[in-house]
Symmetry: C2
Subunit: 485 residues, 2 copies
């Protein structure tokens, strides 16, 4: 999509499109209306994070920092320009990015200085090779959060396919043995499950088809979220690199006997797509529905003002705000000179989990009226119980959103035991689970059924006895078929 087309799609300031009917338009509009990003920055695939969106994303980032560091991963930072000679140490890797690569020039003669990092390997591994000398230096377990740059020629879509992929994290670990390497991959999967829980979205976890692995890798696990239209969004991958990259980048270590060995590696990465998954999963026709964990404001306090009682109501809402702050709840007091209706509308678009209202009636009754954004339920709570109730409501909302996501993800996936049934389900906008024997020719036959739909992986955990949908061979492997983002 060109920048102009993207802008047209916004059709501001019209009312938000219905999410169910026009998901793609809804997504573009809500990013703008809820102040997540501004796409009017005049470069394709490069957008401005507005404050509300950025704070939401930073809550997620802070959580991955917490999870990674708690588990002993060390945060590092590598320069964003990668020397070409580093890139060329792994020609296969580099050729994969050459066309999609931004290069950086400078100086009087516009000499090439390097590549703008498409991903971290080529920046990091030459340094890893310097740092790792003996078995004592292993495991090396590190990560960084930084932008990645891809000169995408396909349609771009904010947070989903950007040319500057902002707030992208990469974990890169090196181990002495294959066993340690495989164990580490399991750790990364566990960290990612925590991130998915944090945004209250239920992912599908798959084994990559062998031919889609990084060149030389010995395994790859990918996370996908299934959107309401049955499409699958790749959303985080754990790549068991084995020794392929270590060989290219010369990551070697002396073992206890002084013998030289090659390191075993895992690399794992994801970023703002996690947020995109949450926005798309939880939002509704009124706007965003943010999980309390990532909401910049977990509660918005709205005074219902009448001239006569203005002073006492303002005193009460200010006190309420203070109570929230003291309880560690992120709160905003909306004291703008707007009608309550206007304020409700604004904060519904932005998806604030709880709205607390205080009007003259509530003061008489010594209560606060609270409205849950996710289901619109209105609850009157006595003031003295308020903080504990608010805390438990936030927890409840987080759980409700996750349960809803689990349920809906299951509903978005249908099982087919024939290509005909598979096609029907795809037509209905479902993601389809099939038995598949893992052979390339059967992959191709499945892919030929419906344009754009293909196998994106095999369920990492679930097995089911059956016959390959294409060749009828017995197999317990379950694969997923869908259009992908």
């Amino acid at each position: 999509m060109t920048k102009e087309e993207e802008e047209e799609k916004l059709e501001l300031p019209k009312v938000l499109r219905a999410k169910k009917k026009e998901l793609s338009e809804w997504y573009h509009q809500i990013l703008f209306l809820a102040d997540i990003v501004d796409i009017r920055y005049n470069l394709k695939g490069m957008n401005v994070w507005k404050n509300y969106g950025y704070e939401t994303m930073l809550n997620l980032k802070r959580y991955w920092d917490y999870v990674f560091k708690k588990n002993g991963l060390k945060e590092l930072y590598f320069p964003q320009i990668v020397p070409i000679e580093y890139c060329e140490q792994n020609p296969e890797w580099w050729s994969g990015f050459k066309e999609q690569g931004f290069k950086v020039i400078a100086g009087e003669k516009d000499e090439i200085q390097g590549a703008l990092r498409p991903t971290g390997e080529a920046a990091m591994y030459p340094m890893y090779a310097m740092w790792i000398k003996t078995f004592r230096d292993l495991p090396l377990r590190a990560y960084e959060t930084v932008s990645s740059f891809r000169y995408e020629t396909r349609h771009t879509r904010p947070l989903i396919r950007d040319r500057e992929i902002t707030l992208w994290h990469e974990i890169h670990t090196v181990h002495a043995t294959k066993e340690d390497c495989l164990k580490e991959a399991q750790n990364h999967i566990e960290y990612y499950k925590q991130l998915w829980d944090f945004v209250a979205v239920h992912p599908v976890i798959v084994d990559k088809p062998g031919w889609e692995l990084f060149p030389g890798a010995i395994g790859g696990i990918e996370f996908y979220n299934i959107t309401p239209d049955g499409k699958a969004m790749e959303n985080g991958s754990v790549n068991i690199l084995g020794q392929a990259y270590a060989k290219k980048f010369n990551i070697k270590f002396k073992d206890k006997e002084g013998k030289e060995n090659i390191g075993w590696q895992v690399c794992t990465g994801n970023g703002a797509r996690l947020l995109a998954a949450a926005l798309i999963q939880h939002g509704d026709d009124k706007g965003l529905v943010l999980p309390p964990n990532i909401a910049p404001y977990q509660v918005v306090v709205v005074p219902i003002l009448f001239e006569k009682e203005k002073e006492i109501i303002m005193k009460n809402v200010e006190k309420l705000k203070e109570m929230f702050e003291n309880a560690g709840i992120r709160v905003l007091l909306d004291d703008r000179e707007e009608t309550p209706g206007r304020k409700f509308y604004d904060w519904e678009i932005k998806g604030v989990p709880l709205r607390a209202e205080i009007g003259p009636e509530d003061i008489k009754k010594n209560q606060v009226v609270i409205v849950k954004r996710n289901d619109g339920k209105k609850i009157a709570i006595k003031k003295e119980l308020f903080i504990s109730e608010a805390n438990s409501l936030l927890k409840t909302i987080q759980e409700e959103l996750l349960k809803k996501s689990q349920k809906e993800t299951a509903e978005r996936i249908g099982y087919a035991d024939s290509l005909k049934k598979m096609e029907e389900l795809l037509e209905k906008g479902k993601c389809v689970k099939i038995n598949w024997c893992k052979k390339g020719e059967c992959y191709d036959r499945v892919k030929a059924v419906k344009e754009g739909a293909e196998i994106f992986g095999s369920d990492y955990y679930e097995k089911k006895k059956g016959r390959c949908i294409a060749c009828d061979e017995e197999t317990d492997n379950l694969a997923y078929v869908a259009k992908t983002y």
Copy 2:
């Protein structure tokens, strides 16, 4: 300096050079030995943040996030590539960066995509122009933390002059009136004072000479730290842009009467130089001395092990570590299989503020021996008093470091009332304070005295009656003369 020369300077693994005698070498060595940055990344002026250095820097960054947000500044993020047409909206600004600019190319024909951001104005202000329509949209008070890129042709020096300037923050605000704009500049000065206190370094605050202001700006305040050799390091600047940039970038607003007005702007920025100032100010011949506020570990616990009592000592140090953690003190238990001496050495290089030792004698006496990194004082503390004592010691160290910095900064500055005396003081490695009438010709005469030494600004607060050191005219303006970084 070339990369090779830089590497040579490290002369690893020899012992750290004496800081007083060879400050520049000491600085290069300590960055490497204390795991702050690794300069072996093969691009001039681009270095890898190692974990210890990065965590130190992130503690500082977290604090500026805290200060800025507490004061209502909103964090944003703008793409790192700036469209050339945005740059060209302010030709004066752009021409200043053209030679030092990195440009980004991509696509089959290597088309120019934009400039790699040298600083934020050209990326931000075209968006500001879209966001600001009426007086209701003002003030706009925002900041971002992001890398800046300069193709420096001069010697580079890690954290001080880099080609990728990492963890750089920029505050950009827009106001309806000049008065608001000037008031905001004062706010920024106050925020910066808090950052300087946080790293326990005493800055010199100056008014920029008029001809060094940003083109069209109406004022500029700069922070400098004075290093032990009497040199001045520019370290943060508050630029009162007035309306100059707003005119170029079309930042206009309708006032209450519907009349169109031009916005008033302040932009303010700094980054890792603050850390460099702290490392240089506090370090000694044994290594770094980190202020507790930014130290990744505020305490390192070292068990003094003898085979017989090993178990009970380990139990005690582990409990101690837990106590620290529960008290919110950042702690590391060094349980490596190394001698205590080796551990002391390592953590002295890294500048951990407190070292806590427990040996068999201490267990008998129910005490912990604590050593302050900044002055080497050894204190035995009864175990039950330990946490409160440790907390108060950390506070004390922070204060001691700041006081020492205030005292030493004062000692590094001498006053001269003649050019001859000024020259003598400069020869002695002092920064020199002089009376200066603010005229350009007198500036030139001062500059001619000693190569490399020049007036870098006038004291922002202090006035003193006297006569211009060059023309003998009466003036109460006090200027600073030094070699600058």
